[in-house]
C-alpha cells in the first residue's frame, strides 16, 4: 500500500486527469471544491433575487405573476442540463469502465429530479393565473413529466441492483436511451402547437424580454448551476465512501479522523 500511494503521488508527469478518475484521488479534491461552488451559488443567487424582485419591472401582460420565471426557467434548464450530464457520465462509464463515472451519474440524478419537480411545480403555479389551468397534457408539459419519471426510473433501477458496477451499467442504458426525450422537451414548443410559450431566450435572436429580467434570470440560472455542482460533489463523496467502505484508503482515512 505504501508503494502504491507513493506511485499515485509520484507520477506527476502522468495523466493527471486519469489519476483524478480514481475515487480515492477524487474524494479529497471534491471536498475542497464544494465550498467554492456553494459560495458561488450564493454569490449569484443574491443579486439574482434582488433583480428578480426589486429591479425587474412589472410585466404589462401578466402583472407580477411573471416573477415565477426567475425560478421556473432556471429549474427547467437545469432539469435538462443535468440529465444530459448524467447520461454523459453514464456513457463514459460504459465505454471506459471507470468506476467514478457511474458514481457521478448517480450523484447527479437526485438533483436533476429535484429541479424537474420544481420546474413542474412552478409551471403549475404560473399556469393557473396565466392560462387558467394548473396542468394541461400538451407536449412540453408531458415530456417534462416523462423526464421526471426517467430520473425516478434511473434512481430506482440503480438502487434495486446490489452490485454497484452492474447497477451502473443498467442505469447507464436507461439514461442513454432517455436522452432522446431532451430534444423532444426543448423543441416541443416548435414541433407541436402547445399552450406553453416558445423560448424567451435563444442564441440566434434577441431575447424577447427586458434586459433586467434577462440578467436576473441568467444570474438565477448560474446560481442553480453552481448549486448543482456543489450538491453533486457532496453526494459523490458519500457514494465513494459507501462503495469503497472496505478499501484500505478509507480505513486509513478513518484512522486519521
Amino acid at each position: 500500500m505504501a508503494i502504491d500511494s507513493y506511485r499515485l503521488d509520484g507520477e506527476a508527469g502522468g495523466n493527471w486527469l486519469l489519476r483524478l478518475a480514481a475515487p480515492q484521488a477524487f474524494f479529497p479534491v471534491a471536498g475542497k471544491m464544494i465550498p467554492w461552488f456553494a459560495a458561488l451559488a450564493v454569490l449569484f443567487a443574491l443579486p439574482g433575487l434582488y433583480l428578480s424582485f426589486f429591479v425587474a419591472p412589472t410585466d404589462f401582460q401578466q402583472g407580477e405573476a411573471y416573477r415565477v420565471i426567475f425560478l421556473h426557467v432556471p429549474a427547467a434548464w437545469m432539469s435538462m442540463f443535468l440529465y444530459v450530464i448524467m447520461a454523459c457520465w453514464a456513457a463514459l462509464g460504459l465505454i471506459l469502465n471507470t468506476r467514478l463515472s457511474g458514481m457521478m451519474a448517480s450523484a447527479v440524478a437526485p438533483t436533476g429530479a429535484m429541479f424537474t419537480f420544481l420546474a413542474l411545480w412552478t409551471g403549475a403555479l404560473w399556469g393557473k393565473p396565466t392560462w387558467g389551468t394548473w396542468w394541461v397534457w400538451d407536449a412540453r408539459l408531458t415530456s417534462e413529466l416523462i423526464l421526471l419519471f426517467l430520473y425516478f426510473g434511473f434512481i430506482a433501477l440503480t438502487n434495486a441492483i446490489d452490485d454497484p458496477r452492474r447497477a451502473d451499467r443498467a442505469g447507464a442504458v436507461l439514461a442513454i436511451v432517455g436522452v432522446v426525450n431532451i430534444p423532444i422537451i426543448y423543441f416541443s414548443v416548435k414541433w407541436w402547437n402547445t399552450l406553453h410559450q416558445g423560448a424567451s431566450v435563444s442564441l440566434t435572436r434577441a431575447p424577447s424580454m427586458a434586459a433586467t429580467m434577462l440578467v436576473g434570470m441568467l444570474l438565477m440560472a448560474l446560481a442553480a448551476w453552481m448549486y448543482s455542482i456543489a450538491a453533486a460533489l457532496w453526494r459523490v463523496r458519500s457514494i465513494i465512501l459507501e462503495r469503497e467502505r472496505d478499501a484500505q484508503w478509507v480505513r486509513e482515512l478513518r484512522g486519521v479522523q
Binding site: 402583472g63 421556473h72 437526485p110 438533483t111 403555479l125 458519500s238 459507501e242
Partner: protein
C-alpha cells in the same frame, strides 16, 4: 421596482399565492436536498 410597502410586496399585485408558492417550494426543495445530503454524508462517514 418600488413596492411602496411590505404588504404590497407580499401581495405581488394579487399573485402572491402563485409567486410565493413557487419560491417557497424552491426553498423547501433545496433545504430538503441539503438535509438529505448532510445525513447521507454523516452515515457514510460513520460506517466507513
Amino acid at each position: 421596482m418600488n413596492w411602496g410597502s411590505f404588504g404590497n410586496f407580499v401581495h405581488m399585485g394579487g399573485y402572491g399565492f402563485y409567486v410565493w408558492g413557487s419560491y417557497l417550494m424552491g426553498v423547501v426543495c433545496i433545504a430538503g436536498e441539503l438535509i438529505l445530503l448532510a445525513r447521507r454524508a454523516r452515515l457514510a462517514e460513520r460506517r466507513a
